[in-house]
Symmetry: C5
Subunit: 378 residues, 5 copies
């Protein structure tokens, strides 16, 4: 923790160079590749290619057997359709749209499903089609270096005996699920594709908490800093943090709606015993959103606190100026009087005039100091 | 992008002269031509005439044949009523109200439909009448020069075998749809007028994203600028941007409601297979509105950041004043003391008094500097 | 328009004297005459008498005949009850409560109806009683001189074959409706009292747009002024404008609810073909409220802009002070040094000391100027 | 009114001494006497005793007879149970809990009813039990001296042929109702206990308007004052007014919910003809809440206006400082130059040098004045 | 109270050292122990161990008999399952997850119930499973030393004839309930496990008021302080108080939802006579949330008041500076004039010039004082 914080101090400012700002904003408005007016279901690769090559993996299992292939070809996957076992095919990389097209054709997916898979930046949603259900939700991670939320679209197509998962990049939050499948004799091995879909959604939502915890810790560091340091950087970092929370909220709010529509039985994907588990996922999503709202309120409070500190310091500065000027400007005036060159200034010849004036000045000065002390400015 | 931004820098201020301000506001409250108390269905031409002459075009098609007329007369269109093929009649320009009246009479439209077509500035809505459905929604474009959203009303009247589209100006977002119709053997050729209506609505909504993307990029440029430049212009541009987002939200929110009422089956225009596509359009609208909300939050944050920078700079200025005044006013006072002309000032005759006083002044000055350094003001 | 604006400039401030302020607030909380604890249906005259004498007019018509009486007595109106024709009786002035009582008794209205008619300041509402329906909604006008919204209550009692309309003052927005009735052979002549009620409500709601347009134009003028003039008056006018928008919103929001309850068929006054028209009125109300919300957002933005300009100008003032003081205070100090009267100040006798000091002062002064220029303050 | 306002000016500040602040806050969080974990229905006396002794009054009536007892004993009331006439028993003072217990036992009230009566500070609510309905709502009055809302709980228990009303203090808003009962031949005499309950609720809600009108007048006085006087007291009074509006809203909001649930027929207390009257009460409540919301918005606007005036005056002060300092500091410097004692300052001997310098100073000074005038600071 | 406040003054600041800040924030985002992707129902001990050893107590009772065991073993508890009497088993300490596992297995609880018990930091919720209902809600206490809300999770598992309660720490708010059970012949002894569950929930919710009362008193102290002391500490304490209210609201809001779902009969745990009591608990929760909202509004008002006082004092400071500088800088200039050493300054030789200049200075100075007095700055 101590180390973490040291690191914080040095990197907060440099992390906020213009290049990064643009990056952040880029995430608020994600470019869509589809041309307005083009046909629905048009498959175009959206956004920059994020992985070198598309990687295909599958896990095909039932209670007794397991077929685990970490480097599969797409043709092997197409064959899984006929098997009665549950197949989880995971595809990393969305830039080869014709691959998505081939899978979609073979498994008879609706054209809109294929378009949505190929166009990352969708809102979380669940949509039921004949023979398959399409689920999309964002996977979120917190880039601790750049202090930003990374958003990646996960698309699931769930059929009778298969789950396809499409990701934009390698690396995910599903290792726990894979281990449970490989472990054998676990609940997941004895249940159908809907339970697998639940397990994947649950893993994604559970990871949201990791992100929120990390943002929470970062907020703690900042909260401490607001009191210690009122430099302009702090305000910039608060602004950036606010924006991350906006992003997070925008990404997670639709997940809540999606889960609500599952629980209201608007889709038939999940059977009742799985729905009990979905209710749990729903609870977690609501809790995560509550926490984000609370964090937003707290960060707003921090902005207020920061601004009040800036005002407060402005007052401090002005007090020093006022005290110095109010004491010495009148005294200088009195010195100026006796610096005049009039021929007839009788005081000038009086022997005790000089020490008397000095005494007078000390009295005036002390009077001002007493006045300021009474005002509470000293 | 680099070029884009260069352009930005020079034109932001001049784009904000008073004439333009008035323009922007003019869009918030659009003048209605109808006199209060006049009969519903009264046809009056609203607002200024926006095109030189009304242009009529139509595409009449079914799976096998296509009749494409880019410069049709209104009489040719009236004849299309009897044909079983799907006809899409597009009319650019609303100032010839008697033309709308003739079409309305021939196709037996409700008087309110005719009034609504002739009165741009309607909220997006869908209304079902006997034998025809009226849909209106705004087409939005972003004027990159003036940094403002241009709003144009699109009215659709959808019948059994025809779609009428009325626009205020030439130029639209339907070229993709036209190409798909002309291409032949596309989905659109084999389906009815409801699918055509969907395709047009989809093209309009898809174009919203283009507008939001451009505003997003402009926001990026501004966000960078807030940190670099705290001139008053920045605040004005933020104010104008906020207003564009208000306009955008006001225009798009009713589109969402309209699509909701379609999906809730409150109208019978769309059959179930088309509704699947409408659900997709609805998703896009919700996503666009989410993004606008996020942008509004971000712009609010930018205003806060800007104001904090203004305060911060005020403090910087005051610090300089305080430091200079606090060091030199007391020193001037001491110089003033020994500039007095009293006859009996024994120090004046002391040989080392002058260098001693200078030393004393250096000590006082250094003390002040040290004090300010400890305060963190230097 | 130019004239309008000139006028604006001179009258904004005087329009905001305290007397007027009180007036404005008076409208927010309208005094109710009914004593707490008195019986429901108690008829007391509320508020000041607004017209010299009560004026009664009626239009009695069916498709073929028309009886138009601009100065009727109340007894003539009571006779209309038995006629099968549609009668529209309009009464301007509410201070003769016994007149309302007589009509109410004759037409068998519920006591609460009579009380509500006599107590202006009601929320818009529709209430169905046996044999008659009571509708009340505010008529709004914009007093261009005083820049304030004038609110007047319109009460409609709609029976099988009559509509009573009660107004607080002479002058209304119904001239269009009267012309349509007198014109003959118009839709209104061939339909019942429900259509007449619709026509009156439509005229009132259409007039809301006139009010909003005028406020919109006033907002334009102000928006321009905020940039040009940061005097305190501007803030007062923004405050007053905000208050007018609050008044407007408070008055119009219940109209929306009232129309919603009509469309949800909670009352049986309107038949289906009239409801189609009511849907149109509802659309207009929603659009008017949208516009008011947008105007409120814009005015809030203008307050922010105004406040940022005040801060900005404060900084400008402080910059001037800081620059002048920072340059001349140190220089005065150096001049003070050589104004001292020490006997042993060897520099005083040096021939080039005076020009050297002047040069030194020029260097110091130029250095400060360069420093401020680098800071961007000059 | 004039008198009222004079009074205002002198008492606003003293009314806001700390002792009063505490009082106000004390109303936001009202102490509850019930110990957590104690049984429901536990009767403990809450809060300080507010009246010297419990006073019991009743009015027992039907269309023909009336039994009016202003100083009854509790035993007399218990006998009323058996009479077929409608009895209204009013009890002022809640500190004798065993009295409430006796009544509750005799009339077979649910233990929670008895607990709620004895614990003032309840939210307004209606709850139906077997054979009796419990209604509680706050009676509000405006203490014009202390500028604060006084809240008192009114509890009604309505049975077949009786209404019990419990108040915390003597003095209420029911004199109008009493007069109507005593008057004879009024609607209230011919109807049952539900109508009596309606009449009491109506009197309470009508009195809300009196409170709101008085707060509205106070707001008018303040609004005028904000423009005239930017002393810190104004802000404190605005803060206190805001708090009163928060209190008012918190107290009245549940009344609206309670009346809604009556209208939605969730309770069976009121028959249909009485419900028509309840709808009227509901309208009044909604209108009162609308007005409170508007007042809150207006007071928020006043705070903004006040703060902008504070900023504005700060600028005025700074302008004076800047102008004085910018004119005289440079001039003092030039005077300082020629006050130096260098031996070789050729200008000193030039005859026209002194008038020339004076002229130069006048030019510099006038230049600064012109500069400030051009800036609009003079 | 006086003592309380004295204490307040000295400890507010030290209570806000960074270590504490972190603590506070730590509560906003509570760490979850469950690894994303792990199976639902996984039992892991979350967070730090809060008690030295797990303590098990039970009360087994029916109307006639009572078995009270303050230091039971888990095996004794497992045997209670078969008894027809109502058993309340209370377990303090959650770190021995295998213990929870054993109980869960014996009483056939759903795996998610066991996971939720072991993972404190859940939102309040009620979930019905076959044969048992799971309820969780936060117990709140106010740490008067640290001025912070302490949150502890209470989990209830309610079966046919048992209630299990799991707490994180020793010490709770249930002593009243225990006393009622031990007292015999109380309502609680004659009723089933659902009434016991109600009694526990009621005790928890009643305790919320104690917390709110204490926060209310702290708010009173602060409100007084804001007027007396505008040091930066006050703002920090307001910020901390705001955060406590955010925490409180976040914790209590789901309790309201939970009680709503009970009243809407979404669970079958409570029979109708118990539901009457639950309605009462619901009322209390709503009232508590209302109060929190009001407190948040008041604290927001206090922040505004504080900031206006800071501005106000800044103005006071600037006024002093401006008055001193504006009076003495011009006077010093005039003194400087006659301090110049020009040879030809005829005034210097005039006898009355010196007193005339002094008089002139007095006039100028008095003029400035009069000017400032007229401005209201003196």
């Amino acid at each position: 923790m101590a180390h973490y914080r040291e690191h914080e101090r040095t990197s907060i400012v440099e992390a906020l160079n213009p290049a990064r700002q643009m990056k952040v904003m880029g995430r608020l408005v994600r470019r869509r590749a589809k041309k307005p007016g083009s046909a629905p279901g048009t498959l175009v690769s959206s956004g920059p290619q994020k992985v070198e090559r598309v990687r295909v993996r599958f896990l095909d299992y039932d209670e007794k057997q397991l077929n685990d292939n970490e480097e599969a070809s797409i043709d092997e996957c197409l064959k899984l359709k006929k098997l009665p076992t549950v197949s989880w095919i995971n595809i990393d990389g969305l830039h080869e749209v014709e691959l998505i097209g081939r899978v979609g054709e073979r498994f008879e997916w609706h054209p809109l499903v294929q378009e949505d898979i190929a166009s990352p930046g969708q809102r979380a949603k669940i949509e039921e089609y004949e023979g398959h259900t399409f689920v999309t939700l964002p996977m979120l991670t917190w880039n601790v270096e750049r202090k930003e939320v990374i958003e990646e679209q996960l698309s699931l197509v769930v059929g009778e005996n298969y789950v396809f998962s499409f990701q934009e990049r390698y690396g995910d939050v599903f290792n726990g699920v894979r281990e449970r499948i490989r472990a054998g004799r676990t609940r997941i091995r004895s249940r159908g594709s809907d339970y697998l879909a639940y397990a994947l959604i649950d893993a994604v939502v559970d990871h949201y908490f990791t992100v929120i915890e990390e943002i929470g810790e970062f907020t703690e560091v900042l909260d401490e800093r607001v009191l210690a340091d009122s430099s302009q950087d702090t305000m910039q970092v608060l602004h950036a943090l606010k924006r991350e929370l906006i992003t997070l909220r925008r990404a997670m709010w639709p997940v809540r709606e999606m889960l609500n529509s599952i629980l209201r039985s608007e889709t038939h994907l999940f059977d009742d015993s799985t729905k009990v588990f979905m209710r749990d996922v729903q609870d977690h999503t609501v809790q995560a959103l509550d926490t984000i709202e609370s964090l937003r309120d707290v960060v707003s409070g921090m902005v207020d606190l920061y601004l009040s500190m800036v005002s407060f310091r402005a007052n401090e500065i002005m007090k020093v100026l006022t005290i110095m000027a109010s004491i010495f400007i009148p005294l200088t005036f009195f010195a100026g009087i006796y610096g005049m060159n009039f021929e007839f200034m009788p005081e000038l010849a009086v022997r005790w005039a000089y020490p008397a004036l000095l005494l007078f000045m000390v009295v005036i000065g002390s009077g001002m100091v007493a006045f300021f002390r009474r005002k509470g400015w000293l």
